[in-house]
């Protein structure tokens, strides 16, 4: 996950707090291992090295693939589970950000959900293509833990995996969870403060990682159709929704709208905070 994860629970029951904390940790680690691009033993790695052979996937992976497919359709192809190969044109992974836009046309040939054969439970990924669940995995993990916690207790619980968070149970003492949206200019300072009583918040856009070409700033969420980040994208979008997956999807899709982010979220009638 590469981000600090925490669970806050307001209770006098030490055992309950332990159980929920441990479950959160276990689920986060499990999902990370299963869908990590970096691990040789991860399922995703196995899928991505299948060389065009059909693979049977388990029910959980199938649900995530269906979700990714739905987001691809709802975003008219801007969001695509197969767009992970674009990192070869924009290397954010190690060291200074390198931009190799000349690689994009070639990479685009290896992108496109329409090239994938997905007939649950059988997935056929053409050779050279990759599946990346990084865009939806974290929010999914938050939702899993939150749904499980809600069944264990009515006490106020907040699951926060690196800024994607969801609360369950009653509101805490004081009436609400106080969440800060990190300022894009001053790390560690809150630019906006939000009081969350129910539901989830997810934030897209990372001020720490961005690229600038010819004076134009680009984020790191790539439009799968063009291979470039959306023009005029805000630096940070936070959305509130009943689940973390929905909040994350709204914020990602809004980011892909670039200049149209505000208009998109307004049409969707979801609560949002945009920092430009």
């Amino acid at each position: 996950m590469a981000s600090p994860c925490e669970v806050l629970i307001e209770t006098g029951d030490k055992d309950l707090a332990s159980r929920i904390g441990l479950r959160a940790r276990d689920e986060a680690l499990r999902i990370d291992r299963k869908f990590s691009r970096y691990r040789n033993d991860s399922l995703i790695q196995a899928i991505n090295t299948s060389r065009g052979r059909p693979r049977r996937v388990d029910a959980e992976t199938a649900r995530l693939l269906d979700y990714g497919a739905a987001l691809c359709k709802l975003s008219e192809g801007r969001f695509d589970l197969t767009s992970g190969v674009l990192r070869q044109a924009w290397s954010f992974d190690e060291g200074p950000i390198a931009a190799h836009p000349e690689k994009i046309p070639t990479l685009l040939e290896r992108i496109g959900w329409q090239r994938v054969t997905w007939q649950p439970p059988m997935l056929t990924l053409p050779e050279g293509m990759e599946i990346d669940l990084g865009g939806i995995g974290k929010e999914y993990a938050v939702d899993l833990v939150a749904d499980w916690a809600a069944l264990q207790t009515d006490s106020p619980v907040l699951v926060n995996f690196g800024g994607d968070l969801r609360c369950t149970g009653r509101p805490p003492q004081g009436g609400a969870w106080r969440v800060g949206i990190e300022s894009i200019d001053q790390a560690g300072e809150a630019a906006r403060r939000i009081e969350l009583k129910a539901g989830a918040l997810a934030t897209s856009g990372d001020a720490k990682r961005h690229i600038e070409i010819d004076g134009v700033r680009y984020g790191h969420i790539f439009d799968a159709r063009t291979g470039w980040p959306a023009r005029g994208a805000p630096r940070s979008i936070t959305v509130a929704a009943p689940t973390c997956s929905q909040a994350g999807s709204y914020s990602t899709l809004a980011m892909l709208q670039g200049e149209g982010a505000e208009a998109f979220l307004k049409t969707e009638s979801v609560q949002h905070w945009i920092l430009r």
Partner: protein, 443 residues
């Protein structure tokens, strides 16, 4: 190109497929409310046509971030009613020059003289800025100012706090300085000189004080400096209790006398006031207090949380170089009836010993003391307060109503009830009702 159709329903369906179910409730998030406004409307009324006060108090607080905040406080209050002028009752009518030096007033036989000419509106404002300093400290600076017809105050204060042991212990140090200007109309009378009474049928503003009437040449402004030092500590004792202890030291320098208050000078046997100068029927002297006062006090408060309710008990002991010592004890019990309303009964007990120069009357045959005052507030007195506050929270704010009853009884200085004075009540007990409405909201 923008998406034309809202995707909400489709996204919800897709998420339901992913998670198996969706929460029933929508998200509830809102911007944090940084502004906090608290207002109170207060009625204060004493019995026997004495002081009545109506005041409006507004506090505006704004949090700028986790570390910094500021607050502004505004108070307007309007004072009317009569207050004892320090003289004692006699079997005759008494006539006094009013506080303004012009208008006079008449007191019936047997009545404790009350000066009804006080009428004032006061406006006070203060502003404070609070800033964190590192993880465990905070400092707070502020200014205050108040103005009324014959009194002006300006001051500054600063306070520093430091937390120890993850805020189990917090120590604080504060200092305040104020300069007050007193501008009695017509100038302040020279202490322990006679008051010039107006003629019985006079009492108009056109009466000029005579040359030897004890007034200074008019319009003099007098002042006093007040410096306060405060040091304290708050200690969390357990999951449920905390204890706060503080010590404070205060020094006042300058004009500390009440310019409009008097002492009756009576015959030591009959208790009848002796005649005044220039054919005035009775002699009254203006009071005079020392021009310095040093106070020290120790304060302790214990706050305790029960599962539902809470209570606070505090105690203050004060001593000063005017020989006044006082003890105050207070109890508050907060009964949290439910999540939205509470009732908080309150009891306070106060007792003080008289100032060294407090005299209910002066005797004609004694040597004039250096300082003397018959102000009942410097006498030996006991007071208690009984009251309750009710609060109710709505979605937008909190309403409160507070009703308190204050009763004060003073003892005259020993040996005062000579002659006919034994038949009169020399100091009127005072009772007052306090009714306060409050509203607090954030946005």
């Amino acid at each position: 190109m923008q998406l034309k159709k809202p995707i909400g329903a489709s996204l919800a369906a897709a998420t339901c497929g992913l998670l198996g179910a969706l929460p029933a409730a929508p998200a509830a998030a809102q911007d944090a409310k940084d502004w906090d406004i608290e207002s109170s409307l207060l009625y204060y009324g004493e019995d026997n046509d004495r002081v009545k006060d109506v005041s409006l108090d507004v506090a505006i607080r704004r949090a700028l971030d986790e570390d910094r905040s500021f607050s502004i406080n505004l108070t307007v209050d309007s004072l009317t009613g009569a207050t004892p002028n320090g003289a004692v009752p006699t079997n005759d009518v008494q006539v006094f020059t009013g506080a303004s030096g012009g208008k006079g007033y008449i007191v019936e036989p047997g009545e404790v003289p009350l000066d009804p000419t006080f009428l004032d509106t006061r406006i006070a404002a203060s502003a404070n800025w609070q800033q964190g300093l590192g993880e465990a400290s905070r400092w707070n600076v502020g200014v205050s100012v108040s103005d009324e017809y014959d009194y002006f105050h300006a001051g500054a204060n600063a306070r520093f706090e430091h937390d120890f042991n993850l805020r189990i212990t917090t120590a604080y140090l504060g200092i305040a300085y104020g300069q007050d200007d007193i501008k009695p109309v017509g100038g302040a009378p020279i202490g322990l000189t006679p008051m010039v009474a107006l003629m019985d049928n006079g009492g108009g503003a056109d009466e000029e004080p005579g040359d030897n009437d004890g007034y200074r040449d008019g319009g003099t402004s007098l002042s006093k400096d007040v410096t306060d030092l405060l040091v304290g500590v708050t200690q969390i004792l357990s999951r449920r209790s905390l204890l706060e202890l503080s010590y404070s030291y205060g020094k006042s320098d300058g004009y500390l006398t009440e310019p409009y208050k008097l002492l009756s000078v009576v015959d030591p046997v009959t208790g009848i006031p002796v005649p005044g100068p220039d054919g005035a029927p009775f002699l009254y002297l203006y009071e005079k207090r020392p021009d310095q006062r040093t106070k020290q006090s120790v304060f302790a408060e214990w706050r305790h949380a029960f599962d539902r309710d809470s209570m606070a008990v505090n105690f203050r002991y004060m001593t000063d170089d005017w020989d006044v010592t006082s003890e105050t004890a207070e109890v508050r019990y907060r009964w949290n009836i439910n999540e939205r309303s509470y009732l908080e009964p309150h009891l306070r007990y106060y007792t003080q010993t008289a100032a060294e120069f407090y005299r209910t009357v002066l005797f004609a045959d004694e040597r004039l003391p250096r300082f003397a005052s018959a102000d009942y507030r410097l006498a030996d007195l006991d007071a208690y307060t009984v009251g309750a506050k009710y609060g109710h929270l709505t979605d937008h704010g909190e309403f409160t109503v507070r009703l308190e009853y204050y009763q004060q009884d003073s003892n005259p200085s020993p040996g005062s009830a000579v002659g006919e004075l034994a038949n009169h009540e020399l100091i009127l007990p005072m009772s007052a009702a306090i009714l306060q409405f409050g509203y607090r909201f954030k946005f």
